[in-house]
C-alpha cells in the first residue's frame, strides 16, 4: 500500500467547530447539502496539498468559526494524518512520524492559521509531529503533490498550448533525453522537407528579395521561412489535443473536463518523485450528464489500483449531486452533516450493518439513486402504495412535505435495517420517521394467523417491527398502526367511501360486491376487515396494491375525494415536519 491521507481534522474554521473526516486510499466522495462546508473541507485539504498551479489558500479573521456564544476566537487549525507509509516515506517524514495505536507508523502534519495582520489576513504556520513547534521542511511539502480542479473549471484554458500547459508538462515528464533529441531531429528533417516546397521557397524569395533591396546588401539580415523553433521545448508548448479531428475549443465543456482530468491524472500518476499524490475535484457533476458522472466515478474509484509503472493517486471529490453520491461506493462516502450551528462528518463505512445488509443497501442505492445522504428530514415507507399516498395524506392535513424538505423514500421491499443504521443521533442526524406495518398475528392450533384489530385495541407488533423500535432514538422514530396501511385507512369511516370509489375505478365488479359486503356488517373493525380482505386476501386473484394506490391517489387529488390519515401516519408526518 502507498501513503494516503487517512484523517483530516478541521477546527475552528467557518461552519466547522471541530470535525474529523476519515479517508481511505483511492476515491473519497465528500457529500452534503449546499452551504454545509464542503468547500471548507477542500480549502483545508489545499492548505497542505496545494499544487504546482495554484497557491495555498489564504484566510482572514472572517474565516474563523463563530461559535454559538457569538465571538470568533483562536486559530484555525487543520491536522492531517497520513498512513500506509513505506520505509522510505518514514525516512522522508521522519520529523512528522509517530506510532499509531496499531503499532504502524503514521505521519502527522498540521497547518495553523492565526496572528492576523492589519488587513485581517491570517498567517499560516506549517508544522509536523506531535507538537506545533517542529516546522515542516520544504522537502516534505514537495513530497505532497496535488492538483486541484475547481468547480466550473475552464478546462479549455488548461489544455490550450502554452509553455506551462498541463500537456506540455506531461510531455516533458514522459520524455528522456534521447526521446527529446529524436523529436528535435524529426522537426529539423521536416523543416528541411518543407523548405523544398515551392510555396515556401517563393514566399522566402519574395520577402528576402524585397528586404535586401530595401536595406541594401550591407544592412540586410538573413531571412528564413520555416518552422519556428525546432527544439523539443518549443514543440511541447505548441502541441494541442485534437478531439475526433476537431479542435478542442469545439468540444463540449463536459467532455473537455474529462480530457483535462485525464491529462492531469496522467501527470500525477507518472510522477514518481513525490511520496504522495492527490487530486482534489470540486463538484465534478457541474458539466457532466448523469451518465458521464457514472463513467467518471467508476474511473476515479479504480485509480488507486494504478496501472503498472504508475503511482496511486488519492482522490477527493466533493458533490452535492444525489446522483453522484448514490453511485459512489458506500465506503468512499464522507457525509457532512448540519448539527445546528456547526457541521459534522459522518462516515457510512463506519456503520455496523447486519450480514449482507450493506451490500443490499449499495445495490438499492445504485438503482434508486435515493437522496439518502442529502436528506434534511426523511420519511421511510415500505413501498409504492405509501409513496403515492403519504404525500397526499400530508397535504390533506396541511403539511407540504416538499416545503419542509422531507425526503420521502420507499425502501422497495428491502428491510428497514439496511437504512436505519445510517440515521440517528450519532449518524446522519436528521429527523427520520419510519412508517411500517404492525402485522399483528396470533397462533391458532399452532398456525400463525393474522389479526384484524379494532381502533383502540392494544396491538403486539410483529418481530420485524419490534427490532426496528429498538433502534429508535431522539431523531429516529418508528410509527405503526393497527395492521397495515390499507387496513388502517379502512378503519376510518370517512375513508371507506373514497376507497370503494377507487376500487370501482379499477375493478367495477369487485367494487360493487364489496360495497354491499361492507354495508352488511356493523362497526368500523368489521367493515375494515371486509374491505381489506375483499381486496387483498381474496380466494382467487388479489387486487394489486400498486394499482389501487394509483386509483386512490387519483380520487384524492383529481376528484378531491375525502380522506383522513390514520393517526400513526399523521404522527409520522408531524415528527418529520416538526
Amino acid at each position: 500500500m502507498d501513503v494516503y491521507l487517512a484523517q483530516l481534522r478541521i477546527r475552528n474554521f467557518r461552519r466547522i467547530a471541530d470535525a474529523t473526516l476519515n479517508f481511505r486510499p483511492g476515491l473519497n466522495v465528500i457529500v452534503g447539502p449546499n452551504n454545509i462546508g464542503k468547500t471548507a473541507v477542500v480549502e483545508a485539504l489545499r492548505a497542505l496539498l496545494a499544487g504546482a498551479d495554484d497557491p495555498y489558500p489564504r484566510f482572514t479573521c472572517d474565516d474563523i468559526h463563530i461559535p454559538t456564544s457569538g465571538k470568533a476566537i483562536g486559530e484555525i487549525r487543520f491536522e492531517y494524518v497520513f498512513q500506509g507509509l513505506s520505509h522510505d516515506d518514514e525516512a522522508e517524514f521522519l520529523h512528522a512520524l509517530r506510532e499509531g495505536s496499531d503499532g504502524k507508523t503514521e505521519a502527522v502534519m498540521g497547518v495553523t492559521y492565526g496572528d492576523p495582520d492589519k488587513s485581517n489576513r491570517l498567517k499560516p504556520r506549517r508544522w509536523c509531529g506531535d507538537f506545533d513547534e517542529v516546522s515542516m521542511t520544504s522537502s516534505m511539502l514537495e513530497n505532497l503533490r496535488s492538483v486541484y480542479l475547481q468547480p466550473l473549471r475552464d478546462a479549455e484554458q488548461g489544455l490550450r498550448p502554452s509553455r506551462n500547459s498541463q500537456l506540455s508538462r506531461l510531455l516533458h515528464l514522459l520524455s528522456d533525453n534521447e526521446g527529446k533529441d529524436a523529436i528535435a531531429d524529426a522537426l529539423r528533417e521536416l523543416d528541411k522537407e518543407l523548405k523544398k516546397h515551392k510555396p515556401i521557397k517563393d514566399t522566402h524569395d519574395a520577402i528576402s528579395g524585397r528586404h535586401s533591396s530595401m536595406l541594401g546588401p550591407n544592412l540586410a539580415q538573413a531571412l528564413d521561412v520555416g518552422l519556428a523553433g525546432t527544439d523539443f521545448g518549443k514543440l511541447a508548448s505548441r502541441l494541442s489535443i485534437i478531439v475526433d479531428t476537431f479542435d478542442i475549443e469545439r468540444n463540449g465543456l463536459g467532455y473537455n473536463n474529462l480530457i483535462f482530468m485525464a491529462v492531469v491524472l496522467s501527470e500525477l500518476a507518472k510522477n514518481a518523485d513525490a511520496a504522495y499524490r492527490s487530486l482534489i475535484v470540486e463538484e465534478p457533476e457541474a458539466h457532466l450528464h448523469p451518465q458521464l458522472q457514472a463513467v467518471l466515478l467508476r474511473y476515479l474509484s479504480s485509480i488507486d489500483e494504478g496501472e503498472p509503472g504508475e503511482k496511486p493517486v488519492q482522490v477527493f471529490v466533493t458533490s452535492h449531486s444525489p446522483n453522484f453520491a448514490s453511485i459512489a461506493d458506500l465506503d468512499s462516502i464522507v457525509c457532512l452533516l448540519d448539527a445546528g450551528h456547526e457541521a459534522l462528518a459522518f462516515h457510512p463505512r463506519s456503520v455496523e450493518f447486519g450480514k449482507g445488509k450493506r451490500e443490499k443497501l449499495a445495490r438499492y442505492l445504485d438503482v434508486t439513486r435515493a437522496e439518502l445522504f442529502f436528506a434534511r428530514r426523511a420519511l421511510f415507507v415500505e413501498g409504492a402504495a405509501e409513496l403515492l399516498l403519504v404525500s397526499a395524506l400530508a397535504k390533506k392535513h396541511g403539511y407540504d412535505l416538499r416545503d419542509h424538505g422531507v425526503s420521502l423514500i420507499s425502501v422497495e421491499g428491502l428491510n428497514f435495517d439496511c437504512f436505519m443504521p445510517l440515521f440517528g443521533e450519532t449518524a446522519i442526524n436528521v429527523p427520520v420517521a419510519v412508517i411500517t406495518d404492525a402485522d399483528p398475528t396470533t397462533k391458532i392450533n399452532g398456525k400463525t394467523v393474522g389479526l384484524y384489530p379494532a381502533v383502540g385495541d392494544i396491538v403486539e407488533p410483529s418481530n420485524t417491527a419490534k427490532s426496528m423500535i429498538k433502534r429508535e432514538d431522539g431523531l429516529v422514530k418508528v410509527f405503526f398502526g393497527q395492521k397495515t396501511f390499507e387496513y388502517d385507512l379502512a378503519l376510518l369511516q370517512k375513508n371507506r367511501a373514497t376507497m370503494l370509489a377507487a376500487l370501482k375505478d379499477i375493478h367495477p365488479n369487485i367494487g360493487d360486491e364489496l360495497e354491499a359486503d361492507v354495508i352488511a356488517v356493523a362497526g368500523d373493525q368489521a367493515k375494515a376487515e371486509k374491505l381489506f380482505r375483499g381486496m387483498f386476501e381474496r380466494e382467487s386473484v388479489n387486487v394489486s396494491k400498486g394499482r389501487f394506490a394509483q386509483a386512490l391517489a387519483s380520487q384524492i387529488q383529481d376528484n378531491k375525494a375525502e380522506i383522513e390519515a390514520p393517526p400513526y401516519i399523521l404522527n409520522a408526518i408531524k415528527h418529520v415536519c416538526k
Binding site: 520505509h87 522510505d88 518514514e90 525516512a91 522522508e92 517524514f93 521522519l94 520529523h95 512528522a96 512520524l97 506510532e99 507508523t105 509536523c128 509531529g129 506531535d130 507538537f131 513547534e133 517542529v134 522537502s139
Partner: protein, 414 residues
C-alpha cells in the same frame, strides 16, 4: 571540478560508495576533499534519502555549506542535487531526534529544548550527590554504547543511576535537557523507539563525519546504532588534532574504525598549509610521515620553543612580536593560541583591560575556537604556542603546541 584536487585527494573522492576511514594530516585539504566527496557521492547515489556531512563547529559547517554551494554553482542546473544535509553532530541529533521525538522518552508535553544551565527555572531541579544538592543540568551522562554512567561536579564524581535518572527524568518532563542530557535522551529514543532509528537510517543512507577525532563516546554510540541499522558512515579526521579530550573525545573511534573489516582506510599525507620545518617538527613529535607542499623561503627556523613564567606575559609577547618582525609578518596577522578560554581571557587582557598593549596587535584565540579563525592562521607560520597544561592539578607544567597538533610536553612528558 576535480582539477582543484591533488591526486591523493581526488583518489579519495572517487572511491566507491562504501564506508571510509580517512586520516588526514593538518593542512591536507580535508574540507575540500570532504565537500568534493559529498558532491561525488550525491551524484553517484541515486537512491532515496539524504547524504549527511556532519562536523563539530558552526564555523566548519558554514565553511562546508559555502564550499558545497560554490561547487553546485559550477554545475549545470539539471542533475544538481541539494539532497544533502550539512550540520553539526549536535544539530543533526537535535533536529532529527530530540525536537520531534525526544518527548517520547522524556514524557514532556512539548518539543524539548536545550538549557545552558543558568536559566532561572533550573533552580528547582537538583540532584543529591551523596553530600549536597547539585543542579540537575550539571549531570554528565556517559555511555560507551551499552549503558549509562553518570557523574557530577568539577571532580566528575560518580553519581549513582538511582539518583541521576529520576533527576534527569524530572527535568526531562518539562522538556529541558542540557548538552550532555541531550545525548542521553537521543540514545534512549533510538534504543526504545525502533521506528525512529529505522527511519533515521533510511533517511541518511550515507553519513560523512568531519573532524572525526572529535567524536565522543556518546556520539559514537549514536553513530554505531545508525551503522547497525544500515547507514554507511565514513570518518575523516586526524587523531593528532583532537581538541575535545575534555569531552572524552580522544579519537579512538577514528583510530579503531579503519581496522574494521568493512571499512576501507585511506590517508591524506600532504600538508598544503605549513612550512616544511613545521611539518618536520610535527612528524617528529607525532610519529607521522607527512610531507609539506610549501617551500621555505629562507633558512629561518619556523618553530621556536619558548618557556616563560606566568608573570612574564608581556615579555613573552614581546619576544613573539620580534620574531614576527624578523619574519616580515605584520603583528596584526599573528595569532596567540591558548588552550583554555580562561587563558585566552587573561592573555587578551580582558582581565586587566590591556590586551591591545599586551598582545602587541596579535589576537589571542582559544584552541577550541582556532578552527573558527582559519584565515588568521594561514598567514603566519609562527605561532606562539605556550599553553598551560589543561589539567588544573598540574598547573605548573607547560605544553608546547604547534597549531592544534598534540605534542608531548618536554617538561612533564605527558
Amino acid at each position: 571540478m576535480t582539477a582543484e584536487l591533488s591526486k591523493e585527494q581526488a583518489d579519495i573522492v572517487a572511491l566507491p560508495l562504501t564506508p571510509l576511514a580517512v586520516t588526514a594530516c593538518a593542512g591536507s585539504g580535508k574540507t575540500r576533499t570532504a565537500v568534493h566527496r559529498l558532491l561525488s557521492m550525491r551524484q553517484r547515489y541515486d537512491g532515496p534519502g539524504l547524504i549527511g556531512l556532519f562536523s563539530f563547529s558552526n564555523v566548519a559547517v558554514d565553511a562546508f555549506k559555502n564550499e558545497y554551494a560554490r561547487l553546485l554553482r559550477n554545475l549545470p542546473a539539471i542533475g544538481r542535487s541539494s539532497r544533502v544535509e550539512i550540520d553539526t553532530m549536535d544539530g543533526f541529533i537535535t533536529a532529527n531526534i530530540l525536537r520531534p521525538h525526544g518527548h517520547r522518552v522524556m514524557q514532556c508535553q512539548r518539543a524539548p529544548f536545550l538549557v545552558e544551565g543558568r536559566e532561572g527555572f533550573l533552580n528547582s531541579f537538583t540532584v543529591y550527590d551523596g553530600k549536597i544538592l547539585q543542579p540537575t543540568a550539571n549531570i554528565e551522562v556517559m555511555s560507551d554504547g551499552t549503558g549509562f554512567r553518570y557523574a557530577i561536579g568539577r571532580a566528575h564524581t560518580d553519581l549513582p543511576a538511582k539518583w541521576a535518572e529520576p533527576a534527569l527524568a524530572k527535568l526531562g518532563s518539562v522538556g529541558a535537557y542540557s548538552h550532555s542530557a541531550g545525548r542521553y535522551w537521543a540514545l534512549r529514543v533510538l534504543h526504545e523507539k525502533s521506528f525512529v532509528l529505522r527511519a533515521m537510517a533510511r533517511r541518511y543512507p550515507h553519513i560523512l563525519v568531519d573532524e572525526a577525532q572529535d567524536i565522543g563516546p556518546e556520539h559514537q554510540a549514536i553513530l554505531e546504532l545508525l551503522i547497525d541499522a544500515g547507514t554507511q558512515v565514513s570518518l575523516i579526521g586526524d587523531i593528532n588534532q583532537g581538541i575535545y579530550e575534555f569531552a572524552r573525545a580522544n579519537g579512538t573511534f577514528l583510530k579503531n574504525y579503519s581496522a574494521r573489516s568493512s571499512i576501507s582506510p585511506h590517508r591524506l599525507t600532504v600538508n598544503y598549509r605549513s612550512l616544511p620545518a613545521i611539518v618536520a617538527l610535527a612528524n617528529k613529535l607525532t610519529g607521522q610521515t607527512d610531507s609539506a607542499n610549501r617551500l621555505a623561503k629562507d633558512a629561518r627556523p619556523a618553530c621556536y620553543y619558548m618557556p616563560f613564567r606566568a608573570t612574564e606575559r608581556d615579555k613573552a609577547l614581546g619576544s613573539f612580536r620580534s620574531l614576527l618582525g624578523a619574519a616580515d609578518i605584520e603583528p596584526s596577522k599573528g595569532v596567540v593560541l591558548c588552550r583554555s578560554s580562561d587563558w585566552t581571557a587573561e592573555w587578551s587582557g580582558e582581565t586587566d583591560g590591556q590586551w591591545a598593549a599586551a598582545a602587541g596587535g596579535c589576537r589571542p584565540t582559544s584552541a577550541a575556537g582556532s578552527r573558527d579563525r582559519e584565515p588568521c592562521l594561514t598567514v603566519p607560520e609562527i605561532v606562539l604556542d605556550c599553553l598551560r597544561e589543561p589539567c588544573r592539578s598540574r598547573s605548573t607544567g607547560f605544553r608546547l603546541r604547534c597549531r592544534a597538533m598534540r605534542i608531548r610536553c618536554p617538561q612533564c612528558s605527558r
